[in-house]
Amino acid sequence: MGQAWTALALTLEVAGWATALNLVLGVGVGFAMARLRFPGRELLDAALTLPMVMPPTVLGFYLLVLLGSQGPLGAWLDQLFGVRLIFTVQAAVIAATVVAFPLVFKAARAAFETVDPQLEEAARLLGVHEVSIFFRVSLPLAWRGILAGLLLSFARATGEFGATLMVAGSIAGKTQTLSIAVYEAVQAGQDDTANFLVAVTSVTCIAVLLAAGRLVPGRVPQRR
């Protein structure tokens, strides 16, 4: 069952990277969307939410066309850096990041919208600069909502299958994540392997959820 442990390690690695990337991207974009007003803002919001509603295989296809060796981005990367993304773990991370992005972005935007802008104004008047205000006022107050989005993002990235299969393929030890390993075990009639993989995946997901529940920061004390 060494295959299962390899697949597990790979799945956690990919999901971890995807969630870390989404932390930066999702929170950044969520904050911008919450605070900036410009024509077409809601249209942009809808476009950024698209990966959540699109079938993963469709998304995977778009990524394949974009990042493939004949695609605009892929050809450029190959020419300039000799980088071929398809069938690499980096492609798996990209697929998982794109698919889970809306979960963090939407949660972050909603969380920042509940932060009273007057608090940020007060901070400005106290002489604190914009970036500091973000880290000292906006982010701490929005953190719990963002964390909820991050958890969902991690879970989604763990289970990512369709888009990953398209751009990262299924290479044992490199891109064969748990979901893909299960799929292939079933196709090959290896039910015992499939059962074991499913059990490992389930236990991992439960463990992550429990651990994350402990990490939710303490509440601001209420008036007794």
Binding site: L125, L126, V128, V137, L141, V220, R224
Partner: protein
């Protein structure tokens, strides 16, 4: 001249649109801008603070020019060195009273630690009788204590002027009176000009050296018969 204000702005209040045009020069140390709700008092204060950009005009306090449309001066709220107390105080709910007061003293990306020890913070805690609740959160203290915390937080930066937006509106009558007198005492020891906006007559009586009346976005020149204090 302590206060030199020329402000124009097109505003929308509810369904009505009106043009705010405040022209005001005063040497008073304690100026009260008095008027009913919807007169444009809050907007005026926000423009002085730099939170809202006027369509045109200038803002000068003492010798400092904070805004001048003609010469393109527009200091950010961070650089205006003003103390501002919001109507509902805008205390940071995730920080203790002590951390709130110490907020402006750290410029970096991190908030002051809960056990922060700074002489300036301690002084203001004492002045406003807050040491007992210094380690409490805003949600755990009374309205009066919150107002004082907001004041202390604003004053710790040694500002060049103090702006107050209806500071007693959220409090009940008896408390209001007490805090009004307290504020008067604190102001007596400070050498900082103050501009307070209110629709409460009593505020004007206790705290003002001069009262300017604002109605429908304009300063009303002729002395008005005293308006009954609006609740």
């Amino acid at each position: 001249m302590t206060w030199d204000l020329e402000l124009t702005k097109r505003l929308q209040h509810g369904a009505s649109r009106f043009e705010l045009q405040v022209s005001l020069r005063s040497a008073a140390r304690r100026l009260v801008l008095f008027g009913p709700s919807g007169a444009g008092k809050s907007q005026t204060l926000k423009m002085i603070a730099g939170l809202v950009r006027p369509d045109g005009g200038r803002v000068r306090i003492g010798t400092r020019t904070l805004f001048d449309a003609d010469s393109g001066v527009n200091l950010s709220p961070q650089s205006r060195r003003l103390a501002f107390v919001f109507q509902d105080y805008a205390l940071f709910p995730h920080l203790t009273v002590r951390q709130n007061i110490a907020f402006a003293l750290s410029g970096g990306w991190r908030n002051p630690r809960p056990r922060v020890h700074d002489a300036r913070v301690e002084r203001w805690l004492e002045t406003f009788q807050l040491p007992a609740v210094a380690d409490h959160f805003p949600a755990q203290i009374s309205g009066g204590q919150r107002q004082r915390t907001a004041l202390a937080r604003a004053l710790v930066t040694e500002p060049t002027a103090l702006l107050l937006d209806e500071p007693f509106a959220a409090l009940d009558g008896h408390l209001r009176q007490r805090l009004r007198e307290e504020l008067a005492q604190v102001l007596a020891t400070l050498n900082v000009p103050m501009l307070l906006i209110t629709h409460d007559d009593a505020d004007a009586q206790v705290l003002a050296d001069e009262v300017v009346h604002l109605r429908a976005g304009r300063v009303v020149d002729a002395p008005q018969a005293r308006e009954p204090a609006l609740a």
